[in-house]
């Protein structure tokens, strides 16, 4: 039986990833200033952002290839 393609997941993760990248673009100066601060908990910002983007964009890229039909057989 042919599994249906994960279009809803692709769209949802695409919106999440796209939103994050849009925010990065739109607030570029403020983000750069905040993310290079060395006081308090500011150094944690790059790490937190990296994780957030990896979840959203990681999911999107996985679904992207799956929708295109590129996938391997899972364990």
């Amino acid at each position: 039986m042919e599994q249906s393609k994960p279009y809803p997941q692709l769209i949802a993760s695409g919106i999440a990833s796209g939103t994050l990248y849009f925010l990065l673009y739109f607030y570029e100066p403020e983000i750069l200033a905040a993310f290079t601060r060395t006081d308090g908990w500011y150094p944690a910002l790059p790490v937190v952002a990296a994780f957030a983007f990896s979840f959203a964009h990681g999911a999107f890229t996985a679904y992207f290839w799956e929708v295109l039909g590129v996938k391997g057989r899972r364990k």
Partner: protein, 355 residues
């Protein structure tokens, strides 16, 4: 470090596109051989005017999420030995720490050219030897006509696995090996040491896991992503504490590399196991030549050689071009192998654990 003195570059569209493209190719290679990309990404960023430390910091900030996604995906195919990765990462961390110290000493004593010469020599010596060895192995496997089989264990690895040292033995289920930590310790250490010098520890880590510990290529390359994650994460924290991470660069690289790494991971399922060795060897050897080209440049800067400035400039351009070529060659081989594997009509169900 005073962040007011650090220049964060003005990002142009051309820079962004270049970072996306290079990130994609780097990710593709990483998903396939567990490492790679950093030696192109960091110089590429620097050629855009990014200060060296910012380039290294930003690359590390992109490396650990990329490795996380790659490891997660490869884990679905049963390739990741998390325990082995963590054990190796523990001693790799010490290697990185010591390696950074050595770099600092050399820079202090011999300046920038001395440091560059040290880095380039490390590239050439390590990559030529290891790359040559991996290529020889890949050719041997191909000629034996048994390229579909799982990797056979090297003689050295068989000996390592036979050594019983009470109280130090560890069993690694996914890699299906039982070895003393007295072997993983120096291997992890060497991985970290090399990572601190050339930014790619996997060029020692992956062959080390394969030929010294006897882990199959598929497991070694996937497990390397765990080590990369730990080192990238630790390194990012260290640089972030100094305000050196340009999050824009890291996230733009990630935008491209996550597409690439997903594809590279899937590629490991489509192709014959020995192709991993072919890609590794090809990249290592081209990079070795690339770095070898600039050794005369640094020798000249140190006053040991005398070369025309125009020749030096040409050598440096050729060197960078070869770096990019190395990554592209790796990517082309991966994609070609995937297409061939797909066209053969056989999407083989790979064993999740070796026999």
């Amino acid at each position: 470090m005073d962040s007011a003195t650090i220049q964060f570059i003005d990002l142009q569209y051309g820079n962004v596109l270049a970072l996306l493209a290079i990130g994609f190719v780097g990710g593709l290679v990483s998903g396939f051989i567990g490492s790679g990309g950093a030696f192109v990404l960091t110089p590429a960023m620097m050629s855009m005017g990014v200060p060296g430390v910012v380039a290294v910091a930003s690359n590390l900030c992109h490396k650990f999420p990329k490795a996380l996604v790659g490891a997660h995906q490869r884990n679905k195919f049963g390739h990741v030995d998390v325990k082995l990765g963590l054990v190796m990462a523990a001693s790799a961390a010490i290697g990185v720490w010591l390696g950074a110290d050595i770099q600092h000493q050399i820079k202090g004593n011999f300046g920038e050219p001395g440091s560059n010469l040290y880095v380039s020599l490390a590239f050439v010596i390590v990559l030529a030897i290891v790359g040559g060895f991996v290529l020889h192995d890949a050719v041997t496997v191909y000629r034996s006509g048994k390229s579909d089989e799982q990797d056979r264990v090297s003689r050295l690895a068989r000996w390592v696995q036979s050594v019983e040292i009470p109280g130090t033995m560890m069993h690694f289920r996914t890699a299906n090996i039982r070895v003393s930590v007295l072997f993983t310790l120096p291997l992890g250490f060497a991985t970290g040491l090399l990572a601190s010098i050339i930014a790619v520890g996997g060029f020692v880590g992956v062959p080390g896991m394969m030929y010294v510990l006897g882990a199959p290529g598929l497991i070694a390359t996937a497990t390397e992503l765990v080590i990369a994650f730990v080192m990238g994460f630790g390194g990012t924290i260290k640089y972030a504490l100094h305000g050196l991470v340009d999050i824009r660069l890291a996230l733009i690289l990630l935008a491209g590399s996550l597409f690439g790494i997903q594809l590279g991971v899937i590629g490991t399922i489509y192709v014959k196991p020995f192709m991993i060795k072919v890609v590794m060897a090809a990249i290592m050897l081209i990079v070795a030549v690339s770095r070898g080209l600039v050794v005369p440049v640094y020798l000249t800067e140190l006053g040991q050689l005398d070369i025309e400035p125009s020749t030096m400039a040409w050598l440096q351009m050729a060197s960078f071009a070869l770096l990019v070529l190395a990554l592209c060659v790796g990517a082309i081989i991966i994609i070609a192998a995937m297409l061939l594997g797909h066209r053969a009509g056989a999407i083989r169900l790979k064993e999740s654990a070796p026999e």
